[in-house]
């Protein structure tokens, strides 16, 4: 996958400069250098490449795995920490919601060997369902959060987080953001630390959170909060840069580099961590400047903490609380503060850019499924995956989408509400089903809900770029392993109507769906067709449109297939259609739909 990582791991001894590394690759390097023995993750943009990169380091050094979901990943890491080796879990911000149950208790327990969780936030919602701020989660769980601002810090801070974890008996969160995760830069690397395993700590009063033990642990967590704040206050990971003392900016993570870009004259306190925050550290800085401005992406975590301390500070009155920061956004904030002049230099082209939304790929096995669902006119509870793209025209056949694994239970609720006259259908991908779709399917059977579940099995975790999962029969390192048999699994849960269909056979797939919605009770239709991109790119002979037969009815254009476009020919005032042979992969769906049989090989 990445040449730089390969080189770095082969040449493990000492190669001082490597890369360019993405932030994610730098984190993975930090994990390896810290002597981690067990690492687990569930893929999720922008965190996915962390575990992919970790898996490029030798198997003899560390075990790396995809877990079925983020909670499982964190629990695997916790188990490894109990067993005395450094452990690591990676996830996206909303993945931490899934792992939260384990995190909240493990915060009380603390670590044996160090445990670090990297959580990648997605300010600007590039590829997520919200833009929650993990720093609030960290303070809620009373777990320290460390915030790197570039690739080098991503590596160094990750390594440091393990030391902090062990010194203060606490899990530690390293917070990255999309921009850090996906920026490449030069990184200085080091050797792998040789960390000796610790003995299992046979101490149930620490490791078993029954009420009496938890009550004892809670005060220790509060003591720990103060101690970690003090440690971080003296840490060289913070930067204090005193320049013009009329304005002091307190910032952290990626916001720091934007401040340096647009307002280099300001005095800056760059925090290594937003939580826990030492009053001594911030007061020392604030005393040296006349006006204090906090620049932080998303929530006013540090701003509010400073206000509680009674420090006069500005922040979200100048800078937005939504969206991703950029040099422009941070600059505008300082313009609002009256500190920088309005920008003059701007491009002067004023035309609206063409809309180019992401679409399902040419030959995507989901396309025909959603075409059929639209024709069926059902009430469709969707889920997270590529197929969420079917929410817009021309497929436009998804009514709701909440979070990973929500679709099936959402459908149960819709059915139990008794208000819907349309058939109720839940659509869910294979990886999402294994992540968190099985308990709600059991719920549906147990509560005898009259719903149809359309399991879109494309044999891969597609949205995040093609990762294996327990339904593919391959591990993260590509080794053969047991493969979940979806039909057996679903029948074992008590589903009586379950049929497998080929989504490239439009008519029989549609017929199965019709039978499934007629069935009273839980019915499951499984679409069994691989993703056209991963694990291997599929390319068949392209279809052609016979320009003499095409009547420009636009039926095929309702697929939204990127291989279909308008030709130069017209029929009764509408463009005929042609197929781009480069991108057509030969799935034949358009040929099946064409009412005039104009499309053929």
């Amino acid at each position: 996958m990445n040449e730089a990582v390969k080189v770095a791991s082969q040449d493990a001894a000492l190669k001082p400069v490597a890369g360019p590394f993405t932030g994610n690759e730098a984190i993975a390097r930090g994990v390896w250098e810290a002597g981690v023995k067990v690492a687990a993750a569930y893929p999720g943009t922008p965190s996915t490449e962390i575990m992919e990169s970790v898996s490029k380091y030798p198997a003899a050094d560390l075990h790396a795995q995809w877990s079925t979901n983020e909670k499982t990943a964190l629990d695997v890491a916790i188990g490894a920490s109990f067993a005395g080796v450094r452990a690591f879990a990676a996830m996206k911000h909303v993945g931490l919601n899934v792992a939260a149950d384990a995190l909240m208790s493990f915060s009380y327990i603390g670590v044996n060997a160090g445990l670090v969780i990297v959580v990648c936030d997605d300010p600007g919602i590039h590829s997520s369902q919200n833009e929650q701020d993990t720093r609030i989660f960290a303070s809620f769980a009373q777990v320290p959060v460390i915030e790197p601002s570039d690739g080098q810090e991503a590596l160094d801070f990750t390594k440091y987080a393990f030391e902090l974890s062990e010194k203060f008996d606490t899990p530690v969160i390293v917070r990255a953001t999309t921009r850090l995760s996906h920026t490449r830069s030069e990184v200085k690397v080091g050797a792998r630390q040789d960390i000796q395993p610790r003995a299992f700590n046979e101490n149930p009063s620490k490791n078993v959170m029954i009420p009496s033990n938890a009550r004892n642990q809670h005060p220790k967590v509060l003591e720990r909060e103060a101690l970690v704040a003090e440690e971080l206050a003296s840490s060289p990971l913070n930067k204090v840069e005193i320049n013009d003392t009329s304005v002091g900016v307190i910032t952290m993570g990626l916001s720091y580099v934007y401040v340096k870009e647009v307002y280099p004259e300001a005095s800056v306190l760059k925090l290594a961590s937003s939580y826990p925050l030492s009053e001594r550290l911030v007061r020392d800085f604030c005393d040296q400047v006349d006006r204090v401005i906090v620049v932080e992406e998303l929530e006013p975590v540090v701003e509010n903490a400073l206000k509680v301390m009674g420090i006069r500070v500005e922040g979200k009155s100048l800078f937005p609380r939504v969206g991703e920061f950029s040099p422009e956004v941070v600059r505008d904030g300082f313009v609002n503060a009256g500190l920088l002049p309005e920008k003059i230099r701007k491009g002067n082209f004023d035309f609206a850019p063409m809309v180019r939304p992401p679409v399902l790929c040419s030959g995507c096995p989901h396309t025909s499924c959603f075409m059929a669902l639209r024709a069926l006119d059902g009430r469709v509870a969707g889920d997270i995956g590529c197929y969420t793209l079917s929410v817009v025209e021309p497929l436009k056949s998804m009514d709701t989408c909440v979070s990973m694994g929500s679709s099936i239970a959402n459908a149960v609720g819709m059915a139990k509400a008794g208000t819907q006259t349309k058939p109720i259908i839940a659509t869910i991908g294979d990886s999402t089903f294994l992540h968190s779709g099985i308990p709600p399917l059991i719920d549906a059977v147990y509560n005898q809900a009259n719903i149809t579940v359309f399991l879109l099995d494309n044999h891969i975790t597609a949205m995040t770029g093609g990762q294996d999962h327990p339904g593919t029969g391959k591990t993260l390192r590509g080794e053969e392993t047991a493969r979940v048999d979806f039909v057996k699994l679903i029948k074992a849960l008590g589903v009586e109507w379950c049929e497998t269909v080929d989504s490239y056979d439009m008519a029989s797939m549609y017929q199965s769906l019709r039978e499934a919605v007629e069935f009273k009770g839980v019915s499951v239709v499984i679409s069994d067709r691989p993703c056209v991109l991963d694990p291997q790119k599929i390319k068949g002979d392209p279809f052609k449109v016979d320009q003499n037969k095409c009547v420009a009815c636009q039926s095929c254009m309702n697929l939204g297939c990127p291989a279909l476009t308008w030709s130069s020919g017209w029929h009764e005032g509408r463009h005929k259609v042609e197929i781009n042979p480069e991108s057509c992969m030969g799935c034949s769906i358009c040929a099946q739909i064409c009412p005039t049989d104009s499309i053929a090989l």
Partner: protein, 296 residues
């Protein structure tokens, strides 16, 4: 040549998912690092494979802070697709920036949604000549056709890198060395030729334009009559078989309570006649009356 300033040099590389924007920017980033510059290259992926727009910021110099280029400060805008070039054109520094774009047009399905008579695709209407007249410096180059002539469509990106090489200060040999490391062994020769072709083309003169032969088909647009479409259903003949409802491309027909086909919103009917042709009972009749005749 991009003028040397105190700040970093900014190259914004844009295109459509699957075109290789990330690969092009990795080549440049590696080259910059080999030359001892601090370099930051930033992109956002996740949706990239799904045919959406992709962009990558490359910044290099003695020190680089922000991983993204501030609007209006790109020294070079390198676009692998025409409409994407226009989307990002205001990121280019209007006083010193260089514009390099492939004139290749990738028309997304979303741009072919209009159903009225005589409707054209909703693709960027600006021509390379128009844009080149307004930018300070640059090239509109049909890199895709050049690569096709060399025998591999995919080498279009290397043609563009050849053009880019004329605006940045790195020696040709260093470019070639990095490119060799990034392309598959069997295609090294063709990529070397593609680089040379792009470089030579750009060196032949600033503000050159070569229009793509591909893409939209404005040339043979017929004059489209305005017509009034009318759909009549003979209710007595309709047996409610649902064929017209299912086959209507505009999804504007439905069965009423008596299971007879009806058209609730006549404005949605485009008069394509699909239902008329497919009705097994000849119950549907479409008339497309030209506006002029209707007025008489």
């Amino acid at each position: 040549m991009v003028e040397k300033r105190n700040g970093p040099t900014n190259v914004l590389i844009v295109g459509v998912g699957g075109q290789g924007v990330i690969m092009v920017s990795k080549v440049l980033a590696q080259l910059c690092q080999n030359h001892g510059y601090e370099v930051k290259q930033s992109e956002v992926h996740g949706m990239a494979k799904r045919g959406g727009g992709v962009f990558s910021h490359v910044r290099y110099g003695s020190a680089v802070w922000s991983p993204t280029i501030p609007e209006g400060e790109a020294d070079v805008l390198l676009a692998l697709e025409w409409a994407e070039a226009l989307r990002w054109i205001n990121f280019m520094n209007p006083d010193t920036g260089t514009f390099i774009a492939d004139t290749q047009r990738i028309v997304p399905p979303f741009a072919c949604r209009a159903r009225g008579r005589g409707e054209e695709a909703g693709y960027a209407p600006q021509t390379p000549e128009e844009i080149m007249a307004q930018v300070r410096a640059g090239y509109a180059i049909d890199a895709t056709s050049m690569a096709e002539d060399l025998g591999n469509l995919k080498a279009a990106n290397t043609v563009l890198l050849g053009a880019l090489s004329t605006t940045l200060e790195f020696p040709v040999e260093d470019w070639l060395e990095v490119i060799r490391g990034f392309v598959p062994p069997h295609s090294i020769d063709i990529n070397m030729a593609a680089f040379a072709a792009g470089r030579e083309w750009a060196q032949a003169g600033d503000k050159r334009v070569e229009e793509s032969a591909k893409g939209l088909h404005k040339a043979d647009v017929e004059l489209q009559q305005q017509v009034i479409t009318k759909l009549e259903i003979t209710e007595e003949w309709c047996k409610g078989c649902d064929i017209c409802v299912k086959m209507c491309p505009e999804r504007c027909l439905r069965l009423n309570e008596q299971l007879v086909a009806e058209l609730p919103d006549p404005s949605k009917c485009t008069g394509c006649r699909m239902c008329e042709w497919l009705c097994p009972d000849f119950a549907i009749k479409i008339t497309n009356t030209p506006v002029l005749e209707a007025a008489e």
